[in-house]
């Protein structure tokens, strides 16, 4: 984890209010793992913004992020143009654990802007011969992104809340007993994760959490999550953002 200047080399809008960017540097791109995030400073905002690493190309030294224009910070970031320098800390936190010897089939469940970190994970798993199935949930057709990219990784089901694209409903409606997997990985809104982890309580899984952050490096205790064991609070920025689904209280 270091503070580095990354160069914005590419930016485009890929869905409603959703921006894809590629950032270049010599350090973060060489060590980032799926599930980790970068912590981005924006001029005149007190706090940095955490954004998941959606893909990495080590050779090109490029890292992909995908983010939604949510408030004033992401809106100002969306206005950056290629060539500009982005002040980042990274890679932060711990990624999705996997032990390729112990698994054959995995299920990825992404909700909205929780989809991005699963892409880099899925790519990595597929390259190790793991069978990947993905369920991607969005609010509406205009917000769907990366369907094609996930199709490359394996069977991919898109769900929208309003049924305007793919299946209608929530990701949890889609997961039936016919789904067969050793492990699941998920990232998305807390409501979705809560429903999902309770539905899949007999399965082993890892989920990636969000919380408002101060330092982003584990020093300030802003971003805690309660655990079910004696560890008490864990820090999402430092001990997560990925946690075993059964360990945390959402």
């Amino acid at each position: 984890m270091r503070k580095v200047e990354m160069k914005l080399v590419y930016a485009r809008q890929i869905a409603e209010d959703t921006i894809e960017m590629k950032l270049e540097d010599n350090y973060i791109t060489q060590i980032a793992e799926p599930g980790q995030f970068i912590y981005i400073a924006l001029p005149n905002f007190t706090l940095r913004r955490p954004i998941s690493i959606a893909d990495v190309d080590r050779e090109q030294k490029q890292l992909t992020i995908l983010f939604k224009i949510f408030g004033r910070g992401t809106a100002s970031f969306a206005a950056y143009e290629p060539g500009m320098i982005v002040d980042c800390i990274g890679p932060n936190g711990n990624g999705f654990p996997f032990d390729t010897d112990k698994m054959e089939k995995v299920l990825l469940i992404g909700g909205g802007i929780g989809v991005p970190p699963l892409y880099y994970l899925g790519k990595k798993l597929k390259s190790k011969g793991i069978e990947v199935t993905s369920i991607l949930g969005y609010q509406t057709a205009a917000q769907v992104f990366y369907e094609e990219e996930f199709n490359q990784l394996g069977e991919t089901i898109v769900v929208t809340d309003d049924g305007s694209y793919g299946e209608k409903g929530y990701v949890t409606d889609i997961i039936t007993d016919s789904f067969n997997f050793d492990l699941y990985y998920s990232c998305g809104p807390t409501g979705m994760l809560r429903a999902l982890t309770s539905k899949l309580q007999d399965k082993k899984g890892y989920i990636s959490l969000e919380e408002r952050m101060g330092c982003g490096v584990g020093a300030c205790a802003a971003c805690v999550v309660s655990t079910k064991n004696e560890q008490g609070y864990l820090k999402i920025c430092h001990d997560g953002p990925v946690f075993p689904a059964k360990e945390v209280i959402l």
Partner: protein, 303 residues
């Protein structure tokens, strides 16, 4: 350029240290740079036993500042002495323990325990944490209670005690004088101002604790004013804080009467901010015609 500052119990190689609660116990930032560069380290608040703190969200962003309501989450004084102090003691810097509690008894107990830790050079008495409901806020805004807790802690230990003043008061000088009378060796100021942000979509205060402490550049003018007022009327050394981001900010605090400074929120924006400030400081002092840190202290007050 001479950056050294001598204060009760503290030989600072330079006047810059992290503010309590913004630097944990140093481990995380030691991944970014050598902590021996720092004048001192103010540790996160310690209480008698472990505290889990407040529910989340615990922070919110504001214009040129932030709100926090961590709620004194810490592993308790024993674990801090056993596990955190030895880590910091590896570095060539001074260790200051931040002492908190809900009762006078708890303050006393924490002070006694730190008193036996030789690596701890001084105490920062946190009577001003706005996020503890049981008593913290009263200690920090009532001169008599501030006096009482200072007296007890002074009695419980031989280490120099710097009392951390809350800015949420009508009369900061009265607070400073009260703890001076009680035997405080120094002051640290300011802690955060109590604030709130409403989250529009949920129509509720954003911070789960409702209120939080406002820190960052937004509060710098208030910190400078309070330090200046106290320096005019009270003879204790002051470690100043509140919105420091640059070496020029440090000089502003020194001129207003601070003997040393602490940097809090700015660490979150730039984890390297303290080494950068320390590096800039000689040039900045020189630019404005000062030959040492000492030379600048209080220069805007006594003219």
């Amino acid at each position: 350029m001479d950056l050294q500052v001598k204060l009760p119990g503290l030989n600072l190689k330079n006047p810059v240290m992290p503010a309590s609660g913004c630097f944990g116990f140093g481990k995380e930032y030691s991944r970014f740079y050598d902590l021996s560069l720092l004048g001192a380290v103010m540790m996160k608040a310690a209480t008698g036993t472990e505290r889990l703190g407040n529910p989340t969200p615990r922070v919110a962003e504001t214009s040129s500042g932030m709100l926090n309501a961590i709620g004194l989450q810490n592993p308790g004084v024993d674990k801090i002495i056993a596990e955190e102090v030895p880590f910091l003691a590896q570095y060539d810097t001074e260790i200051i323990a931040n002492i908190a509690g809900s009762t006078i008894e708890e303050y006393k107990e924490v002070a006694k325990k730190f008193n036996d830790a030789p690596e701890v050079k001084a105490f920062e008495l946190n009577i001003s944490c706005p996020n503890v409901k049981e008593g913290g806020i009263q200690f920090g805004t009532d001169p008599d209670m501030a006096k009482e807790v200072t007296t007890i802690v002074k009695r419980a230990s031989d280490k120099p005690v710097y009392v951390k003043l809350s800015p949420n008061v009508s009369n900061i000088v009265a607070m400073a004088k009260a703890v001076e009378e009680a035997g405080a060796d120094g002051l640290t100021m300011i802690n955060t101002l109590t604030g709130m942000q409403i989250h529009l979509p949920s129509r509720r205060p954003l911070i789960a604790n409702k209120t939080g402490g406002l820190s960052g550049a937004a509060i710098k003018p208030i910190a400078i004013r309070m330090i200046y007022e106290v320096r005019e009327q009270v003879n204790l050394p002051i470690i100043g804080m509140g919105g420091i981001e640059t070496a020029e900010d440090v000089l502003e605090f020194l001129l207003a009467g601070a003997n040393a400074v602490a940097v809090g929120t700015a660490n979150f924006q730039n984890p390297l901010v303290m080494p950068e400030i320390i590096n800039e400081l000689p040039k900045t002092l020189e630019k404005y015609g000062f030959s040492s840190v000492h030379d600048a202290i209080g220069k805007a007050v006594f003219v």
